[in-house]
Amino acid sequence: MIKHILTLVWNKKRNNVLMLLEIFVAFLILFAVFTFTIYYLRIYQSPLGFETEDTLLVNLAMDQEMDSLALLEMRQQLRREIESYPEVEAMSFLSGITPFSGSMWSWGNDDNGFYMQTAIFPTDEYYQKTADIELAEGRWFEEEDYTGTYPPVIINQKLKDTYYPDKPVLDSLFTLDGENKIVGVAKHFKYQDEFSEEIPLTFLLRPLHHNDLNSIQIRLLPNTPAEFEAKLNEGLARITKRRDFVILSLDARRERTSRLTWIPLIAGLSICGFLILNIALGLFGVLYYSINKRRAEIGLRRALGATKGEITSQFTLEVFLVAFAGMLLAAVLAVQFPLLNIVEIPANNFYWSILATMLLISLVVLGCAVTPSRQAAGIHPAQALHEE
């Protein structure tokens, strides 16, 4: 029967070419949207590696002419002030590179015997507690590290897996701008945004007098009321003698950053929804038209001994084979993306997208084909043959 239907589909190729093209184009669009959706959702599902709940970020505007001593003194004052609030669980100084800020500092060299590139995240010894960072091995920075022989660094697991796979890294030296000692490995730290892939990263320990520690991350006790921000605001203004600083919620910033990806993703998926609806309506139309045009053929087949089930299967299979041919052609094109490495997305994503697209289109095609095909099977043979 399959051979017979293939012959029929092939002999009707002129009639089928439009449907095949529709499926071909729809497949490519769905494939593209699915690829990006799967890619971004997988990243979204991967752990962030730090806490954003009950956390405030303060971007300070420091006087550029302040010397390191004055900076140290002011930051110590700020620390004392903030830590004195009962609502505060922990606080850390950071550079302008804060979570979800869009700022990034990257460093690359080949001083370690191979080319290595890492993002840099300067902070202090309290950041693990403030951000609740989980370590895979080693420890976080300690106060003693300020006076150690080598400046300490903490790398993330991604850096270790990328550049030191299967090698012990703790206490080994690592050249960035001079030699540093690796004291710990953080499991994850996806600080750019929830939809950005984690990249190799190095935490640098910054002393309080360093001029780039212009941000503060504050971890509050759960259920701290929003009025606390007013108190914090007053305290910061009193010490810095300025009011041009910004206090914001890290959670809100995280959501705002994520929205930049969610919106196009949802828009793409909505387009896909319309596309699927379009295919479904098109298929219904084509099938109803085809069945009306082929009533005599249906009557003949029934007279020659085809059961209702065989008529339903024939029409469903005919449509499915045309759709399958369209999907196959599009899949051949789609598979070139991972094979030729055209886009920097893991190959797996493409293969899953091809599978998901095929499944979805197949389901829609079968779903839309069954009803008109059943209707075809219900045609009374004597009546259909008489009409001709």
Partner: protein, 221 residues
């Protein structure tokens, strides 16, 4: 071979009730070539459709090849049609998108026959109607007479016991009509196939073993 017992057929709409067949009793023997004649609308095709199990009588019973088919479900009826009956229609009813060979193979598609065997049987059937050299052609490339010969090949490919022909020469000129009639007679004589033919043509009807005349749904001869 084929018994019709008290067959009546009534077509009903909301307002009108039309009696298409009125208590027809008919017995057709094995190997018989029977023709049915009558004016348009007298119920000839309805009777043939009931004999072919593609229509159901409103009343009465059909017994084909010693089997009462009235109680068959739709699937069993379809199987019965496929295995025991062959159909020839006035307008040929060939599928234009299939080659002659594929058209002839059609009834065998609904049986458990291998594709190789299907091909062999279809070629044999086409040989019988003298169209072996046209099997790769499409219906649109054939004359009316050739189309009807393809339809005959399709009707005989499954070796049915009964062939039901609804005005098989109705769309053909007299030469082609005679050719088709010769083939049917040969099938009847040589293969022993029972044939029931509806016709308007008195000459064709005279060549058959027995003639039944219908008028307004009733058998008059």
């Amino acid at each position: 071979m084929l018994n019709l017992e008290n067959i009546s057929k009534v077509y009903r709409t909301d307002t009108i009730e039309t009696l298409a067949l009125n208590t027809i009793n008919m017995k057709i023997e094995k190997g018989e070539f029977l023709s049915i004649m009558g004016p348009s609308g007298c119920g000839k095709s309805t009777l043939l459709n009931i004999m072919g199990l593609i229509d159901e009588p409103s009343e009465g019973r059909v017994v084909v090849a010693n089997q009462t088919v009235a109680d068959y479900n739709s699937k069993a009826t379809a199987r019965f049609r496929n295995e025991h009956l062959g159909f020839i229609f006035q307008s040929f009813h060939l599928i234009n998108d299939l080659s002659v060979l594929d058209n002839v193979e059609l009834p065998l598609l609904y049986r458990k026959v291998s594709s190789k065997e299907r091909r062999r049987l279809a070629e044999e059937a086409l040989e019988q109607v003298g169209l072996h050299n046209r099997m790769r052609h499409f219906p649109s490339q054939l004359s009316g007479g050739q189309k009807q010969r393809v339809a005959i090949a399709r009707a005989i490919v499954g070796r049915p016991e009964i062939i039901l022909a609804d005005e098989p020469t109705g769309n053909l000129d007299s030469v082609m009509g005679n050719e088709i009639m010769d083939i049917l007679l040969r099938l009847n004589e040589q293969e022993g196939t029972t044939i029931v033919m509806v016709t308007h043509d008195e000459r064709m009807a005279q060549r058959t073993h027995r003639l039944v005349r219908l008028f307004d749904g009733s058998q008059v001869q």
